[in-house]
């Protein structure tokens, strides 16, 4: 099993979710995060004083999938989340040791 962790631009979430549904991936967890990579922040001004905002709002999607599905999952995410402009985000794949469905106590691949 693999954990696919993707950090994308917030407005791309719906598109990514639909792209994943199209390839049969329907469960995911989504978190609102802030961060930056090479994308510079921007300057804001509040009551006359300027300040830089380095941390930009992003959305983090986490999905645990079968090893066999990992590649098509990452492909779908990359394609749907890409705008071509800086700050599009990143996708990571990590190994998963255990998965358990709480309601039924199933574990392993059946839990996904």
């Amino acid at each position: 099993m693999k954990l696919v962790k993707a950090i994308i631009k917030p407005f791309k979430l719906e598109e990514v979710k639909e792209a994943l549904a199209d390839i049969g991936i329907e469960g995911m967890t989504v978190t609102e995060v802030k961060g930056f990579g090479r994308q510079k922040g921007h300057t804001e001004i509040y009551r006359g004083s300027e300040y830089t905002v380095d941390f930009l709002p992003k959305v983090m999607i986490e999905i645990v999938v079968d090893d066999a599905d990992a590649e098509k999952t990452t492909d779908a995410i990359v394609k749907a989340a890409k705008t071509g402009k800086i700050g599009d985000g990143k996708v990571f794949v990590l190994p998963v040791e255990t998965a358990i469905r709480i309601r039924t106590d199933e574990s392993g691949a059946e839990a996904l």
């Binding site: 001004i45 509040y46 009551r47 006359g48 004083s49 300040y51």
Partner: protein
Amino acid sequence: MKIKKFLLALLLGSSAFLMAGSLGAQELPVEEVADAVEAVADAIPFEDAYAAFMETPGAAFFTISNLWLLISAALVFIMHLGFATVESGLGQAKNTVNILFKNVFIICMGILTYALWGFNAMYPGDAWSIGGFFAMGSWFDVTASVDLMTSAYADYTWYTDFIFQAMFAATAATIVSGAVAERVKLSSFMIFATLLVTFAYPITGSWQWGGGWLAEKGFYDFAGSSLVHAFGGFAALACVIILGPRAGKYIDGRIKPILGHSMPLATIGVFLLFLGWFGFNGGSVLNADPFLVSLVFVTTALAAAAGGLGAMFTSWIFLKKPDLSMSLNGILAGLVGITAGADSIMPFWAILTGLIAGIIVVFSIIFFDKIKIDDPVGAISVHGICGIFGTLAVALFSGAATFGVQLIGTLSIGAFAFIFSLVVFGLIKVVMGVRVSAEEESEGLDVGEHGQEAYPDFGASSR
């Protein structure tokens, strides 16, 4: 430590003693009494005399005026909700409960202390202790009589007078609460606010509305640009000087903005204040005269609108972007600016008054930040600086008073509030401190002072 506790006990004890003494005495200020009504009052019980009065033609205007004043009192009351929301919106999420708590305390304390002391201290009639300058307070309630509950008293009853003025008194303290937010110690603030509203506010109020020395000089402050707003603004300035800025606001000569956590709340607050101001100014006509009340509604609204636009475009031109919080302050600046002359400054000049106030407030806010006076909501600029301007505007844009007397009036009221606050807040600082610890300030006053969070779920909070 013992000396400090003794001094604090002395301070609180003497105040309580003064107020307890006032409860025993029932002093009725002597007002103008229509001869016919006086003759009736001597002979007939109140209920009958009152019923007889209500049959007279004059009772119609009296009833409508009285009703208008009561509605205005309710509108001024709504301003407290406005203050609560604008202050919490411009503060950080972690301090929201504390800001709200201070505002809840102020309205409760304000009405009660005004009943116990302030009303009679502010309107002594002939019962001055130091003629024209100071009068002792006392319990406000009276035995109902036609002298006090019919047009023999005014175009409204004694009770209406009390409740309308009580709502004003509490707004003076709430001006301070915004400026000291996010680092003031709760108990210290509660003590200071009580003393300010109970004792200081009625003193300056008596100078003008109570018929004191400023009234005799021809000073003109229709609804309180000086008596409420400059008073509160300069009290706030003194407190902020003693309190110091929020941690991390001024670092290495740079100003680091501390963002308000809810612009929707701040906007709701300002609109509520705007709504309440129709009562604040409209009720200050002190009757339901169609011409005057309608004129005041118009000048009030025009000044508010011009203040909003003035601040909007000033921030756009000089600060690169149109700033919402500055625009909100601009509306308030326009309202404060017109408050002294809403019934004497004609509509065209009311627009100019509001516009200038809106422009002034932007530069004032920036100025105070530059000299490291940290005011999270801009209260010192909106109420203090624009309160002075609004008072002077009466001389500049209407013929109701001379520039000289307006200047004397506004400066003496501002100075009194400033010095009183410097002394009292300074004393409180020496005795018990006025600031939360650095750790509590960074964790948030909600948890530190109240053991509560405004937003306990995942959401707006960040530490």
